[in-house]
Amino acid sequence: MSGLQAVYFDGESTDGQPVTLELDARQLLHVRGTGCGIDLAWPLVEVRVSERIGASRRRLYFPDGAQCETADNDAVDALFEGRVPAASWLLHRWESGLSYAVAALVITVAAAWVAVVWGVPALAKQAAFALPAATETYIGRDALATLDKLVLQPSKLPETRQRELRELYARMTSGIQGAATYRLELRQGGRAGANAFALPAGIIVMTDELVELAKDDRELEAVLAHEIGHLRQHHMLRLVMQNSAAAVLIAFMAGDLTSLTSLAAAAPTMLLQASFTRDFEREADDFSLDYLAKRGIAPEYFAAILRRLEEKKRPGRKDGASDYLSTHPSTRERIERARGKI
């Protein structure tokens, strides 16, 4: 071991002295100034060394608070061979090889994929079913109040029609386990157009526009069954939880992004949201089709209302219906699924 060039800083002032470090046979590390009077020796075991990180400067710390700074990383490694903790040595090895970098990239992407596509939904499901009923009621009431203020109007349907729909709904839920606490809210859709949705705490909102679009009450029954399917699985709550969890996860992993680049990181969250939604729609569709089968209602009724909603959304007749459908699986696919159940 000959001549490791470094600069010696005593820790008391900014003055630095160029020195040469040399290890003797008794494992004493000699620090000798090249142009000044420094001549020190420390047992090597008492000298601490900083971790090697890329080609950045390395430091040797002496027990008295002084240190040496050097760019000669290989010489430092040779000097401390066998004394550097395994973790630190391994880390540097991983950070040096391109194959390790590629492996790390693959593992990171795969782990993130598993976490977001599988882990987050599973956790959200657990959480949604475990949430106290009072909390869900609070969230559901809050959501309906917000919608009432911003979008929805009280229903303009005749009183008799409203009663008919409520009776239809009551007949439906009396046969479904756990549906006793769910309730139907009739509203004029406004910007939301022909629409139905399931809010947390068992609230189903159906708009006048949807009621008018249906040619047969069995079509509405199919849509309501679809919404009950959402409620049974706490879909809305899970969607909210999943989206926030995924956003937090992505923000965390993109840790040192600047504000500009985090803009780009928001895109995957939006794509994920659409995919979460599609899975839930399929689940709700399946529930609805099962329900129809049990009641002896042909699945064509479901297909028919879906087709009419799709027609409403066609270009040239653009209205509120489009945003109901955009997050759903393609209508053709859903109609075909409905037919497949015959």
Partner: protein, 324 residues
Amino acid sequence: MSELYRPGEPVKLQFTGSASEYFRIWIVNLCLSVLTLGIYSAWAKVRRKRYFYGSTLLDGAAFEYTGNPVAILKGRLLVLAVFTVYSLAQHVVPLLSLVLALVVLALLPWIIQRALQFNARNSLHRNVRFGFNGGKMQIFGVLLVAALLVPVTLGIGYPWYLAMKRRLFVENSRYGSQRFAFSATTGDYYRGAMKISLAFVGFLAGSIVTLGIGLLPFYLLLRAYAEVVLARLAWRNTTLAEIRFDCGWTVGGLFGLYFVNALGVMLSLGLLVPWAAIRTARYKLERMTLQSPQGPAKFLAAAADDVGAVGDEAGELLGFDFGL
């Protein structure tokens, strides 16, 4: 080599980091953070900072970062716990979340003080630590101006707040036992704000004329301009004993940097984040100069004090950054 800052000659900061090297460090540490469910991220952060500090040279000697990952992990867990309780309480016991928010607000000056102390104390050059001596009441005063005066004056008080914040930060920062000094006046900040406001009008006009297509480039241009104005104002008025600082960033240079960074990061789906970080550090650091007209300077270390990392993380999460 032995003496810092020769007389007269401006000394440039030098940055020796490389994108290919940092990419490997970044991805390995990100991978470990993900696999440990985030626990390792405290170590990753320290490693990242050590790499950047250790690659920044001033007159031949590198900077050093000595933050303790365990302290940072504790800080993160505390912040996470408070945040979780807060968001759960919002739905279950709204009153508790309100109380919690008030408590955090009351502790804010303390949190910021700790964050600034932690960051300064763990930064070294030539084995001499930086430090921060600002008091809680001073920080409270700046926050009060930000929270009360700025909204009441519809933003007209904002340059005052900026000047006050920078002065508090610079005048309480020290290198070893030597304090930094700050000579910019509130008036200087108002003049700077006037220039930025004019640039903002240009930004609006440009965005409208190009029918919104120019929104992103014009925004970057505005941001670059504002950053250059404020950085020059801050650095040209900062002194450390005899040493003067200068910041040679230009609007065009910074704009090109941000534009290419944004493009690269977006097109690579985030893979070029480390490359962008290295480019930014190189541009910003290598255009900083120091000058000591009177001759070589020597600074003495100060007696040390220990600070935990709770403030470091909390300050980061709250986005409150005094920005050196």
